[in-house]
Symmetry: C2
Subunit: 252 residues, 2 copies
């Protein structure tokens, strides 16, 4: 893991890093505490690890809870090189937008490929983060994400025992994700949008239903997934604080 | 409104009252503040206004938020006289338990009757509460309930503009309730149990869908409705505090 830059604002230190081909960022408290939980942040498809909403959320988790937050670009996203599969998917999305063809099958194919590539990348990133003296192997690890970040997160959480709590936003659900959910037994919080043009309700309900966790909840809000309301960030803080065991200083 | 008793414990004053045939209870802070919101608490079918869980919730709302909480017995419940319709419903439930017949139709008939009778009773109770000097007409009013308390609360909220926020737990949903939900435009929070033996998911999802509020949310937990987890009480506190505008002293 190579740190390429370090900046600081409002008590939050931001360090960009690379790990082989992976490009990532680590947000930490300026005054770190010993056992701060580590939250892995998975971005939406088509954007990148430092999209504005993700930076705001990361700062909130760091400054409100003293958590450490790590994000990596998905393959072909952000600062990553695009391979032929990424270019083909981009072209397919562009064609579908032009012709009005359904994008569901393209999302399923591309997210399946991205998750296959991203799971070992996240595992290598966790290895490298745990080797850092200010994180170590004792920090409890949570995962949070939306859409593509959920597709990757479900596949990752199903096989990665170091993740002990996960908060999943809306996702275009498909069979492999439902199968992954059946393997997940850690505490999970799902949040979906009720009137999402691109994401049907039924597969999301089926995904929640399939999840094997005894401690799971599903929170539904009106609107589309890009209109999720502000106080959900606090719900995430409460969820991770409850399960990863650090003191929150957030007011309800 | 006639107060028949007054007791106090842990900073919460409990006053039993009668209003004509209606039997009720009012919980208030020992040190009331001026603009404390008033929460109307609707009990589950078969129990009464002071069942243990309701008392605990009321004490939590009073001592954590400084709210005032009022509860009345549903017709034929608690300290109320049973009329021939109440006796007939009890006999029908007992027969169904004995023979294993479905209780859905009995619930629909009985809850319809109870809601018809209870809505004007709640409205008279609100009138009387607003005439009390320590409540008045400026206190914002919220409604919270489960099962029968939801059936009554939906019918009440649809016609009672003084209620400006409502938190509804699981309910055996039927057509009249879905129609009532279409009239409701105030902020509403629904909470349901996912694996409820007696309450199907689909009508509950349809009820949420039908609700006309722009500011609505649905929270789903595993298990049955009598197994809802403890931290939901805090969610209710946050919901009412957010919408009725009093300072919460609750920690997240």
């Amino acid at each position: 893991m190579h740190f390429s830059s370090e900046t600081s604002s409002n008590g939050v230190v931001e360090r960009n890093f690379t790990l082989g081909d992976i490009t990532g960022v680590l947000w930490s408290p300026a005054l770190p505490s010993g056992d701060a939980p580590l939250i892995l942040s998975g971005h939406t498809g088509g954007i990148h690890k430092k999209a504005p909403g993700l930076v705001t959320n990361a700062h909130h988790l760091v400054s409100t809870c003293g958590f450490t937050v790590a994000a990596i670009d998905a393959p072909g996203h952000g600062d990553r090189r695009r391979d032929s599969e990424d270019e083909a998917a981009r072209a397919a999305f562009a064609r579908a937008r032009e012709t009005g063809a359904p994008i569901g099958p393209i999302i399923i194919d591309y997210n399946t490929s991205l998750a296959e590539r991203a799971v070992p990348e996240w595992q290598a990133t966790i290895d490298a983060l745990q080797a850092l003296p200010d994180i170590g192997t004792q920090a409890p690890i949570g995962y949070g994400g939306m859409t593509l970040g959920v597709a990757i997160g479900l596949m990752l959480t199903a096989v990665e025992p170091r993740i002990t709590a996960a908060a999943f936003g809306p996702v275009f659900a498909y069979e492999a994700l439902t199968e992954a959910a059946k393997q997940i037994t850690i505490p999970v919080e799902f949040t979906i949008a009720w009137d999402d043009e691109g994401i049907d309700r039924e597969p999301s309900l089926a995904l929640f239903d399939a999840c094997a966790s005894l401690d799971k909840s599903l929170h539904i809000y009106p609107g589309r997934h890009n209109q999720m309301r502000g106080f959900d960030a606090d719900a995430g803080v409460r969820f991770f604080t409850r399960h990863l065991g650090h003191t929150s200083t957030s007011s309800a």
